[in-house]
Amino acid sequence: MKIHIRNGRVIDPMNARDEVIDVFVVAGKIVGLGTPPADFHANRVIDASGLVVCPGLVDLSVRLREPGFEYRATLESEMLAAAAGGITSLACPPDTDPPLDEPGLVEMLKFRAKNLPGPRVYPIGALTQKLEGKLLTEMAELTEAGCRAFTQADAVPTDPQVLLRAMQYAATFGFSLWLRPQDLSLARDGVAHDGAVASRLGLPGIPALAETVALATILLLARETGARIHLARLSTREGIAMVRAAKAQGLAITCDVASTHVHLSENDLVSFDSHLHLVPPLRGLRDRDAIREALRDGSIDALCSDHTPVDEDVKQVPFGESAPGASGVELLLPLTLKWAREMGVPLIKAIDLISWKPAQILGVPGGNLSVGSCADICIFDEAAEWVATPKTLASQGDNTPFLNHSMQGQVRYTLIDGHIDFEFAH
């Protein structure tokens, strides 16, 4: 397949490129920019006039719900939804049922995903067996099976000794640990940020301390062990300040936030809408503003969707009983663009946070449009307005706090490995 992407505004953060230029794709690779290689005859010409052509998005957290939660969403539905969101590579966390703690399970998932259209799927392996926080998994075997990193999903092991040894072991092989700083004891029974709003609504709180206490432990152990640490889903101003300080001291860590937390805060909870029940919880306005600023100044390295599709039954209950999480692969791009517009951040910088930067964190190809690199490309209309509804969203999970919200920025084409895996139907 030879594809000629004509007349688009090519934005490639890694190469600091932002110009209108043609892109030529042959056999899954980008083979030319501006001028086609000799003997290039396109099978398909995409007219990208007025559109942005950027690296395919790399999403650091997408729950595909297989194995075990197929009633919530299937691999087919969520991979299609991700492609519709412009995503060409995604990391999926191991909190499936059973958890991804054995090479066989990882190989099965990779095999299933490979035979479906949609993004490249990179499993994140369980750090401990059954995610119980006690015994280490076979990290080396899991890496051979395709795991890109290891995580305890929504928490850190409650036993600091297990965490210390996990870091030492991972550091032995140079494996990366993705840790969500949340102290489970301090978060116990909580469903919302412990602040004035939860107090007023009578919702049991999760204090900011649940994040900062866990973060302090992680940072101390990381310094000691030299383990490669990526901090997933920061949510508090204090936590961001700790990461910023650790980075300034030379600790090689990276971190991300979920796109929901860039726009929403505890103030949105007043209606008790269970779609706002998220992990980590939506924090205060000052926390949200700190996230927005840290994305701008580079203290936060990447934005992800933290896509968590659930069925409507587990949201159609009172807030505290509802399953946490929001669906989001199709909103990652428009929510990132919204932040950039509101903060006056150039498009190239916004795209960096959802393509090149996360590709580096995940350690995978893609995330750039260099000649010779894989043809993972997202083509979108920056100005197109649309409304997020169960009809316009392809994900099986309709559980988003942005339901019926107007979005600006819409994907027109998603190319994965040089194939058009998604094409917007007008």
């Binding site: 107090s199 009578g202 009172p318």
Partner: protein, 317 residues
């Protein structure tokens, strides 16, 4: 959009006192006043809600609140059905919405809802047919508006006005839906000083943002008070490392005659019930001349009649 008000500003559901305008609070209290004598008539009934079906939907067990709602509804001539869902369909795994839809299909006009989860009444109100009103009879730690209203009714009866009062709420504010409702009502009705008195483990984060003054010392907090509201202390609080023992709590936060003497001489003592004598309140105070705990229960019926009558569209006795 305000879920509990109609577009014209009248009451559609009663879910919380948070954000409810003073005019509506006062209207409910005035209406309750007009129902006060119904209980003393030979025929303790008015025909205001004749033909209406009211369902007591209690997802969490309660005897006292359910009974007063039942009496109130019957005095308004409504048909009342009591459902203790805690012991029926919920244990069979039926979803709340299925229960609600089933009852709506039986032509219910009003749901009185109690549930252990904060926001449960909001959730049901958002999902009921347009002709059904929802009254929150207590949701988690969030709200217990009829209790808050009957407390205001009690204060108004004994103190006349709100604008010159100092009111202290003593005890487990953190877990108390009653305290939250009282705080919203008191501040809305213009009480200039509302105090909460509790150890730090039993106060919600940022409670002062609800417009209260925080005290951790009972004696200092009671000084000069006109109204003292003691809250029930659940025994499970000792398990969550919030308190060491009921004895130590009583020593520092229990309302004894000596502590009560620090308040104004004509201060009244209230309690939403049921009381733990010797834990949050000394029997001598609970049964003493300043206690208005039993009148609270009596007024509760009139206040609940007023709420149901207003929601059903008729307001005169």
């Amino acid at each position: 959009m305000n879920l509990q008000l109609n577009p014209d500003g009248s009451l559609r559901h009663l879910l919380t006192l948070d954000g409810l305008p003073r005019t509506i609070l006062t209207h409910i209290l005035d209406t309750a006043e007009s129902f006060m004598d119904v209980g003393e008539r030979e025929v303790k009934k008015v025909p205001l809600l004749r033909g209406k079906s009211i369902f007591n939907l209690f997802f969490e067990p309660s005897t006292r609140t359910r009974t007063t709602f039942e009496i109130a509804a019957k005095r308004l001539s409504a048909d009342v059905v009591n459902l203790n869902i805690a012991t029926s369909s919920q244990t069979k795994g039926e979803a709340i919405l299925d229960t609600v839809d089933n009852l709506a299909a039986m032509h219910a006009d009003m749901f009185i809802v109690r549930h252990a989860q904060s926001g449960a009444a909001h959730f049901i109100a958002r999902n009921v047919a347009p002709h059904i009103s929802v009254v929150n009879a207590g949701d988690g730690r969030h709200s217990h508006p009829t209790q808050g209203l009957l407390d205001m009714f009690t204060i108004r009866r004994f103190k006349g006005e709100f604008h010159n009062l100092t009111v202290a709420i003593v005890g487990d504010v953190l877990h108390s839906r009653v305290a939250r409702s009282q705080i919203h009502a008191l501040t809305t009705l213009g009480v200039p000083e509302v105090r909460v008195i509790a150890p730090k483990t039993l106060l919600p984060t940022g409670v002062e943002q609800m417009g209260v003054k925080v005290y951790h010392d009972l004696e200092a907090g009671l000084h000069g008070c006109d109204v003292i509201i003691t809250l029930r202390l659940q025994s499970e609080r000792m398990k969550g490392a919030l308190l060491p023992s009921a004895q130590e709590y009583f020593k520092f936060f229990g309302l004894t005659p000596a502590k009560l003497a620090l308040a104004k001489p004509d201060a009244i003592v209230m309690h939403p019930g049921p009381m733990n004598r010797g834990v949050e309140i000394d029997s001598e105070v609970a049964d003493g001349p300043q206690s208005v705990i039993l009148p609270q229960v009596t007024y509760g019926i009139a206040v609940r009649m007023a709420v149901m009558a207003i929601l059903a569209g008729g307001t005169t006795a």
